[in-house]
Symmetry: C2
Subunit: 165 residues, 2 copies
DNA sequence: ATATATAGGACAATTATAGTCCTATATGGC
DNA sequence: GCCATATAGGACTATAATTGTCCTATATAT
């Protein structure tokens, strides 16, 4: 797949709309109408975002949702973490029986983890502010060829202990 | 999700094994036994990789698969493209009815596309060679904060014409 | 009180993925 | 030529993930 789920995609659209007036309160009904997505679906996204404290809910009439923080302080990684069910990562740390022992497999896994880490860092540095910017600002993130830091042997050990194959 | 499929994961493991002796011929049976994955599954992966000309098949007895090119010239992006069914991208370029007209939605989509592009470039620069390296070499790829190039207005137009919402 | 909101969980339908199997074709050795 | 061994390609099934919806409970303003 290598793809964020539709719900997360909706999440970015919803948040982008809210980012236009970062201090305003938006009801789920309002947002649903404005982005043209069904109310129950938008509601689900907003509830999830509220649980992660990315938006703050106000109940009752005249209630709704508002951004908990300014757009430039909400990272794309946080949004993904909030809505995606499985933990972040291009590859899964699965324990296929007997694979963990194979040096070959283990090495590939370790290098995948580092690739994951790079992508993760990129998405941590990108914010909701960047997402709504006319063009992505100079504070945005790009990937380029540079030396990777030394491998962290301790971290790899930890992965093993947690059943990483 | 934001995750490569298991089949693609197997693909990297298979190729990593083959990369240890880049000129040798490996039968599907042999590979299946050595990486401890069921034969039909390994076969499926290898057939797919052969179609993309990443490995070359030799039929008949004493036949098998061998790498078509040296590990350092096979990019991770190529492997993903070969095995994943859907085109590369963190976000899908879906046409949800009536969303394409909304400036807000369109802007978010455009910026997502650029994020995709960054990740794509990273995976194009990483090779099978890097994946089997003891530690990822200095030729490997990391993501860091740098200015993004100017937006390519022409490309964005093309996306629109192809029904991108 | 009542209308308007969100909270949280349960549910059904759809879709994607994984894995297997079957038949056809090619090659080397006897 | 015949047989064992390999891959080619597609079909098919079972499983899992995802989506989207709905229901009931709770909170708030008028």
């Amino acid at each position: 797949m290598l793809r964020i789920s539709k719900l997360t995609d909706y999440g970015t659209i919803v948040l982008a709309l809210m980012a236009r007036d970062p201090l305003e309160i938006y009801s789920a009904t309002d947002i649903a109408r404005r982005i043209n997505v069904a109310l129950p679906t938008v509601g689900k996204v907003l509830k999830t975002l509220a649980r992660a404290d990315i938006v703050t809910a106000t109940r009752g009439s005249h209630g709704g949702y508002s951004l908990s923080r300014l757009p430039s302080t909400i990272s794309i990684a946080q949004i993904i973490d909030a809505i995606e069910e499985q933990p972040f990562g291009l590859t899964e740390c699965t324990s296929i029986a007997g694979l963990c022992m194979q040096e070959n497999h283990c090495r590939v896994r370790a290098n995948w983890m580092r690739i994951n880490q790079s992508v993760r860092i990129a998405l941590e540095n990108l914010t909701l502010g960047d997402l709504v910017a006319e063009t992505v600002q100079s504070t945005a993130t790009q990937i380029q060829k540079v030396p990777l830091p030394k491998i962290d042997a301790q971290k790899l050990e930890e992965n093993h202990e947690h059943g990483c194959s």
